[in-house]
């Protein structure tokens, strides 16, 4: 068999290999990997219960301790272990980030597929809904939703999904519009494939990389939103997230007390995880749209 066009149309594995040569992508994937490992082994990694008030040997509350062997990142003003809170926060970040990302990617992709493939009225209705969702200011909506209903992590995820699906849906729709004109889609139709089969077997797999791309961006957005909502005080009080840590540090004037060890680590973690999504998106863009690079 002549492998004439192997270079021109690399398969999925070829794309993956190119993705892994990009240093930004590797950095992004590494951050995600560390996040997942830490979240999974959080129970083993925590040195204290993040909600427990710790006491010193003399019986007094171990408040505002600097980092030490006993308290790796020091303690809060109420004597809670910052390091353990940070580790515990990774779980919330992971749950919020990945749940929201999966929902955004799945929902947005489905809407984009239907709108792009069937066109006409369905397309018009779905895309006007998307415009509507895009017109709603993001953070105020999340805060209002959290404020009006019981503040919970679920609400944050709902808010992120409700407002982020249109970005994915629009891009997927645009891609479907080009893929559905390809001859192999017509070939599927002429050989008797149903609309559902054409859509999910022939069209969808060819736009899947974009779904992953938007999913990885949504992870960052979701974690950022959760942090922001927690920071303004509408977070779930039962879950000590990174945003909650920042709020706790803020209201107890950690900055003026110089407790850098308290609020810098959660802030750094949020930045790293959010940036990881954009790093991966950046690398994936090079692979998905090589013509844009020049």
């Amino acid at each position: 068999m002549a492998a004439g066009r192997a270079g021109a149309a690399p398969g999925l594995t070829g794309k993956l290999a190119r993705l892994l040569r990009d240093p930004f992508t590797v950095a992004g994937l590494t951050i995600y990997a560390v996040l997942i490992i830490v979240a999974v082994f959080a129970d083993q990694l925590m040195t204290h219960d993040p909600g427990e008030i710790l006491f010193r040997a003399n019986g007094r509350v171990a408040s505002n301790q600097p980092p030490s062997a006993a308290y790796l990142l020091g303690t809060t003003n109420l004597g809670r272990d910052v390091y353990s809170q940070l580790i515990g926060g990774s779980r919330i970040a992971l749950v919020v980030g990945f749940t929201a990302a999966i929902c955004v990617a799945a929902f947005g992709t489905l809407i984009g597929l239907l709108a792009g493939y069937f066109g006409g009225k369905l397309d018009a209705i779905l895309m006007r809904l998307a415009d509507l969702a895009l017109a709603i200011p993001f953070l105020p909506f999340a805060i209002v939703l959290a404020g009006f209903s019981r503040s919970s992590t679920t609400n944050v995820i709902v808010a992120v999904v409700l407002l982020l699906w249109p970005n994915t849906a629009r891009v997927i729709r645009a891609q479907v519009l080009t893929v559905k004109e390809r001859a192999y889609v017509e070939a599927a139709r002429v050989t008797g494939a149903s609309d559902a089969r054409i859509l999910f077997v022939h069209v969808a797999p060819n736009i899947l990389p974009l779904t992953f791309l938007y999913g990885s961006v949504a992870i960052g957005w979701a974690i950022l939103t959760e942090a922001a909502v927690s920071f303004v005080g509408f977070g779930d009080a039962k879950n000590i997230s990174w945003g909650y840590m920042l709020q706790d540090a803020f209201v107890s004037q950690a900055l003026s007390r110089g407790s850098w060890h308290w609020f810098v680590p959660p802030g750094l973690c949020i930045i790293l995880v959010v940036i990881a999504g954009f790093f991966i998106a950046r690398g994936a863009e090079d692979v998905l749209f090589p013509k844009l690079r020049s």
């Binding site: 068999m1 002549a2 492998a3 004439g4 066009r5 192997a6 021109a8 149309a9 398969g11 999925l12 390809r182 001859a183 192999y184 017509e186 070939a187 599927a188 139709r189 002429v190 050989t191 008797g192 494939a193 149903s194 089969r197 022939h202 797999p205 060819n206």
Partner: protein, 331 residues
């Protein structure tokens, strides 16, 4: 369609077939309140008999491909009707549509785009069988048979291969095999070899001719290539701007074209001789705008022989005997 042209056992018949597309509106259209249309296919009749191979000649944009897509129910006609083996296809749905799909297939122009890049060759070839609900146990046999028909090695040689790992000639045979795997009665071949290197064209064309003869397939070859049509088609239709301007037995039509457009096409074929005295029929300008339905003959702007009558009256397709029909006042 006249009795002289109608084969004894018609398989595909179309009458008054039209397809129009909305044209982009110009500013003047907005003021006039008009919605202009482009007529890709404008009231054509055709008939393809069982086992017959018909060529559809014409330049880019004359409506050849649209005609082929209409006959396969890949797009719906704006007017006119199509019957396949006596059954009107415009209302087919569900199982009846699947039954029609099994019998009428398409061979694509560009083999590099016609196969799903994420499907292995095996899956590409089995896909039509899956789609039409053929029982799974027989898939492998049918795929092997189709591969043998297009003179490709057995399936074991394509184990795990994807379309991009094959050459153009192999891909076009795979495209043909995919159409044959359903054992159709009718295939539309849309410029089946125009994307291939000249060196592999003959091979693919021979396979198509052979397959058609042994299986008794009816075929519509869509092409701008006179050599191809002469090689594989018994009857030829010539299209210009959505209309059939001439039709007849291929050999006669190419030897003695009656319509000035056909004559220009035949004269435009390059001859591989340096000292060839070349009397190209002077046809002027470009294809005129397909917006709206113009009065008179569509070819008159470019026709060297046009007379006053050509602008007034649209020439109908006239029967000239011996199976030949032409749409020209002067022929």
């Amino acid at each position: 369609m006249t009795s002289a042209q109608t084969p004894t056992h018609p398989l595909v018949t179309a009458s008054g077939l039209s397809k129009r597309f909305a044209a982009p509106r110009r500013l003047s259209d907005l003021f006039n309140g008009q919605r202009p249309h482009i007529y890709a296919v404008d009231g054509i009749d055709l008939c393809i008999g069982k086992g017959e191979s018909v060529g559809l000649l014409g330049e880019s944009g004359c409506g050849k491909t649209t005609t082929g897509r209409l006959l396969l129910k890949l797009t719906e006609p704006s007017a006119g009707s199509i019957a396949f083996d006596g059954v009107a296809i415009d209302t087919l749905k569900g199982n009846d549509l699947t039954a029609f799909r099994k019998r009428a297939q398409l061979v694509f122009q560009n083999p590099f785009d016609a196969l799903n890049p994420r499907f292995t060759i095996e899956r590409v070839l089995a896909e039509p069988l899956v789609n039409t609900g053929v029982e799974r146990a027989s898939h492998r046999d049918k795929v092997e048979k189709a591969l043998a028909q297009v003179r490709l090695p057995p399936l074991s040689r394509f184990e795990g291969l994807f379309p991009h790992q094959l050459s153009g000639g192999q891909l076009q045979r795979i495209v043909l095999a995919r159409a044959l795997v359903l054992e159709p009665d009718f295939i539309v071949a849309d410029e089946p070899v125009s994307m291939l290197d000249v060196s592999v064209r003959a091979g693919v064309l021979n396979v198509m001719r052979e397959v058609r003869a042994t299986l008794g397939l009816a075929a519509l070859y869509i092409s701008h290539d006179l050599a191809l049509v002469r090689y594989v088609c018994s009857t030829t239709l010539v299209m210009y701007l959505g209309k059939i301007v001439e039709q007849g037995p291929t050999a006669d039509l190419l030897k003695m074209p009656l319509h000035p457009y056909t004559r220009a096409l035949v004269n435009a074929v390059p001859v591989p001789r340096v000292d060839q005295s070349h009397e190209a029929l002077p046809i002027i300008g470009n294809v005129s705008d397909a917006r709206g339905q113009p009065r008179g003959c569509r070819f008159r702007d470019r026709c060297p022989m046009a007379v006053a009558r050509c602008a007034e009256e649209e020439p109908p397709l006239r029967d000239l005997g011996q199976g030949r029909q032409v749409a020209c006042h002067l022929a």
